[in-house]
Amino acid sequence: MNFQEIIHRLLGYWMERDCVVQQPYDVEVGAGTMHPETFLRVLGPEPYRVAYVQPSRRPADGRYGENPNRLYKHYQLQVILKPAPEDIQDQYLDSLRALGIDLAGHDLRFEEDNWESPTLGAWGIGWQVLLDGMEITQFTYFQQAGGQDLMPISGEITYGLERIAAFVNDAESVHDLPWNSRFTYGEVRKREEYEFSRYSFELADVDMHFTLFDLYERECRRCLDNGCVLPAFDYCLKCSHTFNLLDSRSAISVTQRVDLIARVRALAVAVAGAYVEEDEQVPV
């Protein structure tokens, strides 16, 4: 089963279970959790169900397209079930069966792994799911986001699409994966991996990005001051990505790092607080 079929099947599976099928967020993010359809939707009391693919950029993980496993950008398929149904683990396992994986013939287990994002002021309890020793999914019961205690509790399923595809296709390198019946993953993505690795390790203008960080932060605050939460969150995300870029350029000193993380976190907490507050006032 090729890469895009896997995406198609998983989205189809969750579509049948009342999930809104969303599209990737169009701001650079490091993980599917940062998509507003997760970070903001898990706040507050309203039930929600959503599934989407999120290209996730991690500048420091770039390897110029030469490493079989590490990528500047990888694809996560993210599912949020709010509240988490009692049989959420079984639903997840059925989604693997929907990919044709015979679970009785493999070694699958849930091993403790509690997800935490200091920059988002978010954490949860859960597992990494290991299939024949490979981590294919992060499974989390969200407990806090943006510093807010959550209720109801959302279940988050984050599939590592490249890992699953490598498993299903018995591939040694991510670049050999069939994207579809004609093109490989490498053919589709290698140049992008190379150029963005170059950019984030060698080229990114450090001074400019420090300036941008400040500007984005200010814009986020200004949006919040004017009660405009969703645009504010965009600028919070931009701060986070800018931080990651500067980090991959080794431009951040010890003390700066702590300070910058705290600043992004403060924005995320302010956004989450405002989102819950403004919720009642928005005209429908």
Binding site: P68, N69, A84, E86, Q89, L93, L103, A104, G105, H106, D107, L108, R109, F110, E111, E112, N114, G124, I125, W127, L131, D132, G133, M134, Y141, Q143, M151, P152, I153, A166, F167, D170, E172, S253, V254, T255, V258
Partner: protein, 685 residues
């Protein structure tokens, strides 16, 4: 007699938390029964990642009936002028269900009161249990909990089923929306899907075994141990790893051991790295040949019955090889930049917010080392010991810090004392762990630890009785182990002072607190070595600044404490100390011409004869000889106390006698304050 079985089903509990949770569940159930006067027979405990279960046998049907006394209103308002019961008395009788004429009067602290005596019928044990179960389950405390329901009930993972059987009957109760029943669940993939009905507690273990869940921990451990042997090829053996064996026993419901392999070229990566990748990252067992060389094989424990098509093995091999590929890459790229060139970059690696970077720590460690020994190789090791924190391998596998530095230093061709000192300077990691083997490694580790503890204390980071997040006690304890193991004649006070020079304004009060932490660990380690507590008290009263010598003094004292002369001397010494506390004036030096009584001049002469030999023995650290020699003073000391009036009215004589006793006791105090030794009833741990 009756049997009670309780199983709580959850989503997967972290492997290292199952034993603790089960223990609490079992203890909680037994406590409920015991508090209600119910005798308990055999108790068995069962577990797997998805369940905790307790089986209690030999239970009676009902709690014993018991007599109960209920206090009512004071007598003064319970009877009227005609001595007839009032409304208060009748009301009380009605409330407790006793006829008015059966009420009695009892004397209490506050006067006379009405009391009712009644027999309380024992409750059926199943009712007791059903009522208590929710609180017992909710009372389990876990290291980290979550919420998943509106009630915000906290537990380790969501609760999914409750099986509660009193013999063949279901015990009815509810917890967080889950109702009890007789159903459990088998293995997620081999268990046939649906729930598994359990007719009677007797059939529980077998019913689950049929559905590929081995609920008996010992059965799982035995299966793993057996199959580890079976899967090990001729001529090889499993690198022993009891912790991992325990972990995998808690990680799997139906453990099965499988062997996989990796390409031989990866054996070029240092063994320490290979074992870490296999053990810590993949939970695999490593194999070695008869000479102890690592083999290109691994054993993994699966949570399934078999690998019929070989797919599982292939999957695990692929994952391991990808990780080894990374490790090989780091091993090659890290070495392109020598450790010496990495030191500067430590300025960017934070040690602790209040204590600056690792470059600063490196400089402090060097200064401490320089104060401990004049050894250029120790200095080089100190300069390079933290440089591996800038290596990719250590970034990926922090547990290899120090070890990688040592391996890279060896690969660079640095002298053995240098690379070995770097390699082992984090040891011992735990009490059971061995300290560094080399002297340079020992001194380096000592300096690193002293710097960490003194630095943290100076920044206000201190362990409390309940928490020690920076592991400062462990750091101090490692230092103590090193001092003892290497017989290092290092003064604790000097070590801490050297460390204090690295920080601004570490006052005597802070050093005193650090010293207390260290001395507490000295006491702990020596106690673990089997010394009696009073022996420790005696030696500590005489000071433990030189930790190694303190342990020698303990040995000497422990060896001689049971001997008759010594015991008598300890009694006499106690008298001596008591008398000495009564005179606070400065005493003049001893004058032989004032030794009026025969017993005192005898004692003085015996003491004077001993002194040169004792001084020599003290110098040489022959503490047993010192104590034996002192024990020889028993007779003159006894006679002294029998014949001589120490606290005489004649001031000159009195002060001279006190001086004699002071000198004598000072000699003892170089080894121990033996008045602390408990005589006649020696304690044993």
């Amino acid at each position: 007699m009756n049997k009670f079985l309780f199983e709580l089903g959850t989503e997967e509990i972290p492997a290292d938390m199952i034993a603790g949770g089960l223990e609490q569940l079992s203890r909680g159930l037994r406590a409920v029964l015991e508090e209600n006067g119910v005798e308990v027979g055999a108790v068995s405990e069962f577990s797997s990642p998805r369940r905790l279960a307790v089986l209690i046998e030999g239970l009676p049907e009902r709690q014993e009936d018991r007599e109960e006394t209920v206090q009512g209103p004071p007598r003064s308002i319970a009877f009227d002028d005609q001595d007839q019961p009032t409304a208060a008395a009748r009301g009380f009788a009605g409330k407790v269900g006793v006829a008015v004429q059966e009420l009695e009067v009892a004397e209490t602290d506050r006067g006379e009161y009405l009391v009712a005596r009644r027999t309380v019928e024992g409750l059926p044990v199943p009712d007791l249990l059903a009522r208590a179960l929710p609180a017992v389950v909710g009372g389990i405390s876990w290291p980290k909990t979550m919420v998943w329901t509106e009630s915000r009930f906290r537990f380790i993972r969501p609760l999914r089923w409750l099986l509660a059987l009193w013999n063949g009957e279901v015990l009815d109760f509810e917890l967080e929306g889950v109702h009890s029943g007789r159903s459990t669940h088998g293995h997620r993939f081999l268990g046939g899907g649906g729930p598994v009905e359990v007719a009677h507690p007797d059939g529980y273990v077998e019913a689950l075994r049929q559905h590929f869940v081995l609920v008996d921990l010992e059965e799982r451990r035995a299966k793993i141990a057996r199959e580890l042997q079976q899967q090990t090829p001729e001529g090889s053996s499993v690198l022993p790893d009891p912790d991992l064996e325990r972990t995998v026993a808690f990680l799997n419901e139906f453990p099965t051991v499988l062997r996989g392999g990796f390409q031989e070229r990866f054996l070029e990566i240092p063994r320490e790295v290979l074992v870490t990748v296999m053990r810590h990252h993949q939970k695999y067992f490593a194999l070695v040949d008869a000479e102890g060389r690592l083999q290109p094989w691994f054993l993994t424990v699966l949570n399934t019955e078999a690998d019929a098509k070989g797919n599982i093995r292939k999957g695990h091999e692929r994952v391991l090889e990808a990780r080894l590929e990374d490790a090989a890459f780091f091993w090659n790229t890290d070495r392109q930049k020598p450790l010496a060139e990495r030191v500067e970059a430590l300025a960017e690696v934070m040690f602790q917010k209040e204590l600056g970077s690792y470059l600063q720590k490196t400089e402090r460690i060097r200064a401490i080392c320089a104060g401990l020994a004049d050894d250029p190789r120790l200095d080089e090791a100190a300069r390079l010991c933290k440089a591996d924190l800038t290596c990719d391998m250590v970034f990926e596998m922090p547990e290899l810090q120090g070890i990688m530095g040592g391996l890279y230093a060896r690969a660079e061709g640095l002298p053995e004392p240098v690379w070995k000192a770097i390699y082992e300077h984090y040891r011992p990691l735990a009490f059971e762990d061995d300290p560094p083997q080399t002297r340079a490694g020992a001194l380096l580790s000592l300096a690193d630890r002293a710097d960490t503890v003194v630095g943290c204390f100076s920044a206000g980071i201190r362990p409390t009785s309940s928490s020690d997040p920076f592991g400062l006690r462990r750091q101090a304890q490692g230092a103590v182990q090193i001092l003892l193991e290497h017989r290092l004649e290092v003064s604790l006070g000097r070590l801490l002072e050297l460390a204090a020079r690295g920080f601004e304004g570490v006052g005597p009060d802070v050093l005193e607190q650090v010293r207390e932490i260290f001395e507490g660990r000295v006491r702990y380690v020596l106690r673990e070595k089997g010394f009696d507590y009073d022996v420790l008290n005696a030696v500590f009263a005489a000071g433990v600044d030189n930790v190694y010598q303190a342990s020698r003094r303990c040995e000497a004292l422990q060896g001689i404490r049971g001997e008759a002369d010594f015991e008598a001397l300890a009694v006499a010494f106690k008298r001596m100390r008591n008398i000495l506390t009564k005179e606070t004036d400065e005493l003049p030096p001893l004058r032989e011409d004032l030794l009026a009584e025969k017993a005192e001049s005898n004692l003085y002469q015996a003491f004077s004869r001993l002194q040169p030999g004792v001084d020599e023995d003290l110098e040489a650290g022959n503490y047993a000889e010192v104590l034996r020699a002192l024990a020889g003073l028993r007779a003159p000391v006894d006679r002294f106390f029998d014949d001589v009036m120490v606290l005489t009215e004649e001031a000159d004589l009195r002060r001279n006698r006190l001086r004699l006793l002071t000198d004598l006791s000072a000699l003892f105090l170089q080894v121990a304050d033996i008045s602390e030794v408990v005589v006649a009833r020696p304690s044993r741990p």
